[in-house]
């Protein structure tokens, strides 16, 4: 009886330890994943912003000399980034000028204008990240470039983390 009670307490203690350790591990994993999710989003915005700057500055002459084909050639370099689902350039007057999509469709994005006085803006919308950046040449606004990316990179990353965390926790608890 005594032995049985002792075994039961040990079991309970072990179970409690496992639960506490598991909870601590889960919390650590959750904190880590949350941190990684935030930094991944920031990195994604940063990368898309750089791509928008490059596309914009390479489209200046196309905008100034009204050559949409040249601007589309510039945008087509974005096919190297599979996460980009569409991009387009608008003139300073807000007219659609050139567009890009990996499947070749020429639909122009209907997007809100940049907030007044802002050079760049980004927003997460319908599972996508959109970065809008003004194209400024010699101090004058020449156009606006919009780039839309899917969030598959982040979701794949989170799934990988979840699998690794699940494997780690289960092996630690066994």
């Amino acid at each position: 009886m005594l032995i049985g009670s002792g075994a039961s307490i040990t079991k309970r203690l072990t179970r409690m330890n496992v639960l506490v350790s598991g909870a601590a591990l889960l919390m650590a994993c959750a904190a880590f994943v949350t941190y990684d999710w935030i930094t991944s989003r920031e990195a994604m915005v940063h990368n898309l912003s750089i791509q928008a700057q490059i596309a914009g500055s390479n489209s200046v002459s196309a905008l100034l000399f009204n050559d949409p084909q040249s601007a589309e050639n510039t945008l087509s370099a974005l096919k190297a980034a599979p996460n980009i689902v569409s991009a387009c350039i608008y003139t300073a007057e807000g007219l659609a000028f050139a567009s890009y999509s990996p499947n070749g469709s020429r639909e122009a994005l209907t997007l809100p204008a940049l907030p007044l006085g802002q050079l760049e803006h980004h927003w997460f919308q319908d599972g996508h990240l959109v970065v809008a950046r003004k194209i400024v040449f010699e101090g004058k606004p020449t156009g606006t470039v919009y780039i839309r990316s899917d969030l598959q990179e982040i979701s794949h990353r989170l799934k990988r983390y979840a699998a690794i965390a699940a494997a780690g926790i289960s092996s630690a608890l066994n």
Partner: protein
Amino acid sequence: MRAHRSSGIYRCTGCSRGSFPQLVALAALSVFILTSILHAQSAHTEYQVKAAYLYNFAKFVEWPPEVMSSDSSFNICVLGRDPFDSTFQTTIAGESIKGKNVLVKRIPRAQDASGCQILFISSFEEARLKDILDVLDKMSVLTVSDMPQFTRRGGMIQFVTEANRVRFEVNLTSAERTGLTLSSQLLKVAIGVRRG
């Protein structure tokens, strides 16, 4: 001309057989006037675009430092009969290029182009283009024109109208020979880049 009703049919009392040619003449005159107005409007738009392009060329061309330091203004000159009229005033008035105020000058002779950074050569000067380009050969002046075969004959930038759009082609060798550097951004949007 008045119309009156006779036997249920309206007839034109002033409409004799002799007035038909008058009607045709009136219609032809109306078409001519309308066409002239439309042509004047499209020509105006075309030279507005060309004036804007002349200004934009300056953003993608580098002149030798001694050329840029010699004058306090950036001079865009027109040689010969000026097709721009008042277009420059509306397009580039008050603008500056490379920190200098833009001035538009009309010059009668190529010899007067020494202070110009960009020279538009009117197509009316086509007959004496060779002499003009010979004079400009030693000057770092960006030569632009819309006369046919301009780049083939040694000019630097030639306006070409393609599908109602103003485009341009470039003779890179002519530009580089006088010390001008044309940006790759400019060459990218040219419809043709000639070397030699």
